[in-house]
Symmetry: C2
Subunit: 359 residues, 2 copies
């Protein structure tokens, strides 16, 4: 039987957290606790993903998800990429690395789809676009549920039309990349407005994500019509996460976040740092070309613990992230959410009409 | 006894909707239905506000609110204002009006405070800043509850320290002006993230606003810890509202919104139109100077029904606004919210642990 959200003990989904923070241990801990853990296929070779799945399955027999990036068009603007490379040369020199080749790739799209089918991954989620209906059908035939990340009502309609089993509704509060289909139109709709707008155009189950960090946030999206809440930053300080020390420090701090394409060529939210401030204006919309251009530079900065020179992805509620083991966090969030719903429902139900008194 | 949110039959507050949409009839309809109606003191003379209050009190004996703008510093950059005036000359010529004087004023601050105290207005809300603790104390002594609009956790701490009875927590989704204390730092935190961040720093009652348009939205913020939901755009198509026809048409349409300071010199969210696209880059941060500069121009465009040349304030969920009498809308929102909370609470409560099965 394909995965359904109602199977989860707790309606809590871990965001895929590509690029380091996501680990099989983190996903396994979330799934073992009754939530849904996620692996990130993005930036990894199909072989590495296969090995992640094997490791995860060694840790839990529970359902989990795998997130795959939908490839977009190549940039085609070689001159803009060259200009950006020139602008970043000093950064690379300072860190003692070469810039990468700003090349296009499809991140192993077909191989990763084939792997997901072969492994019958319980949930396969997509970001950066809507896969063709045939891709969705093939996954479903292989026993996978297909989820699509959406950031506008129009994207939600397209995903529902393609047969998606559920939609990940991503508000502008979310850390990391905006999941928008069109990288040049990242959009800006807040989660709560988007949930209502999407609910008005589709009856697919919705997984809400963006700025959810506490049980109150989980309760809010469930009351707002979501079948589950997806949290990313909230899990990034867990011991099971692969988050670097500099990144953990920044998350626990109070600095503001901003949207930027300076690191990867696609709009993403991170804690504002010097690199963002200095290079945002120069970066072209060109993913994955810019990602490949800056990858070594960012890795070097991360190794040095230089939080001013790599991407500190984080959602707007990042100061609320706790340093708890992931399973404990899942249970705590679910308990708090239950209590919040009980309390809000009770307060409304017990508001007697007879209490309406003139002032 | 001073007003408390628990007095309301329905935890639904109408946003003040300054500049036309707000009318005593609208506020009265909302209060009569068991919500809390609001009058806008902004842009109006103290005499006009007094007459609004009298008219409202002729229609309902229920509590209501009055919103007052906290005056900020004068711009001091006369050259920037002159440049912007020059940039707008063609717009004014086209509409056959003179531009206004880009002068500073405090919008009748002391007179309006005195009026609110004299009238013992049940709720006095503030936007654009935090009044001094002495202002809050004097209002409370006069029988008024004092609410302060906040857009960041730091603003929430300041408002709580000043003694505010409740905080209006405004997400970036909200239509109209950002309530930020510092006009040059309007901020960008989404409602759901902000609710959690503010709850972490104060236990004051919270009124959530920004992109709430349906009972699901109301339920979401109540579950997220708010004592009430404040809706603006959702009421703008009500027959009791003073919203112009061109504005109503735009609200019912699907166009995107954006933040702009082109109309007033303070950042506000409106449905994107030509004026915003053409002038956003030129407009200085200078409120109320720019507001006074453009007032006649915008009034003329509104009279002509030219929706490309005046401010179409609207929140991100504007396409969901319904053309219902305001009282009917209050009851519908409350009923839907109750049902949504019941349904979300039930779904969580009945998720049996025994259901955790391996896939």
């Amino acid at each position: 039987m394909p995965f359904s959200l109602s199977q989860l003990e707790h309606p809590i989904v871990q965001a895929p957290l590509g690029g380091g923070p996501s680990t099989p241990a983190l996903a396994a801990a979330v799934s073992e606790a009754g939530g849904l853990g996620f692996l990130a296929a993005g930036y990894r070779t199909p072989d590495a993903v296969r090995s992640d799945i094997a490791e995860l399955r060694g840790l839990t027999a529970r359902p989990f998800g795998l997130n795959i990036f939908v490839p977009g068009p190549a940039s085609g603007d070689a001159a803009a990429l060259e200009r950006y490379a020139a602008a970043l040369r000093d950064e690379a020199d300072r860190l003692g690395v070469e810039l990468g080749e700003p090349r296009y790739d499809d991140d192993g799209w077909e191989d990763k789809l084939a792997l997901a089918r072969r492994e019958a991954v319980p949930v396969v989620a997509f970001t950066f676009g809507c896969p063709d209906a045939s891709v969705v059908t093939q996954l479903q035939a292989a026993g996978c549920a297909a989820w699509v990340t959406v950031t506008t009502p129009a994207e939600a309609v397209a995903a529902a039309d393609a047969g998606a089993d559920a939609l990940i509704v991503q508000g502008v509060e979310a850390g990391g990349h905006r999941g928008s289909y069109d990288g040049e139109a990242p959009g800006d709709i807040g989660l709560l407005a988007l949930l209502q707008l999407v609910r008005a155009v589709t009856d697919r189950p919705l997984v809400a994500t963006g700025g959810i960090a506490t049980g109150l946030g989980v309760a809010a999206v469930l009351a707002g019509g979501a079948a589950a809440a997806q949290l990313g930053t909230a899990f990034m300080c867990a011991p099971e996460a692969g988050t670097s020390e500099a990144h953990r420090r920044a998350i626990r701090g109070g600095a503001r976040t901003a949207l930027t394409r300076a690191f990867t060529g696609r709009t993403a939210r991170g804690i504002e740092n010097r690199f963002m401030r200095e290079h945002e204006g120069e970066a072209p919309h060109a993913y994955p070309e810019v990602n490949n251009l800056t990858a070594r530079l960012r890795a070097a900065a991360r190794e040095r613990g230089d939080g001013d020179a790599f991407h500190l992805w984080a959602g707007q509620a990042h100061p609320l992230a706790e340093e708890l083991p992931a399973g404990e966090l899942v249970r705590k969030l679910a308990d708090e959410a239950r209590e919040a719903l009980r309390s809000a429902g009770g307060a409304l139900a017990h508001r007697p009409e007879g209490r309406r008194q003139d002032p």
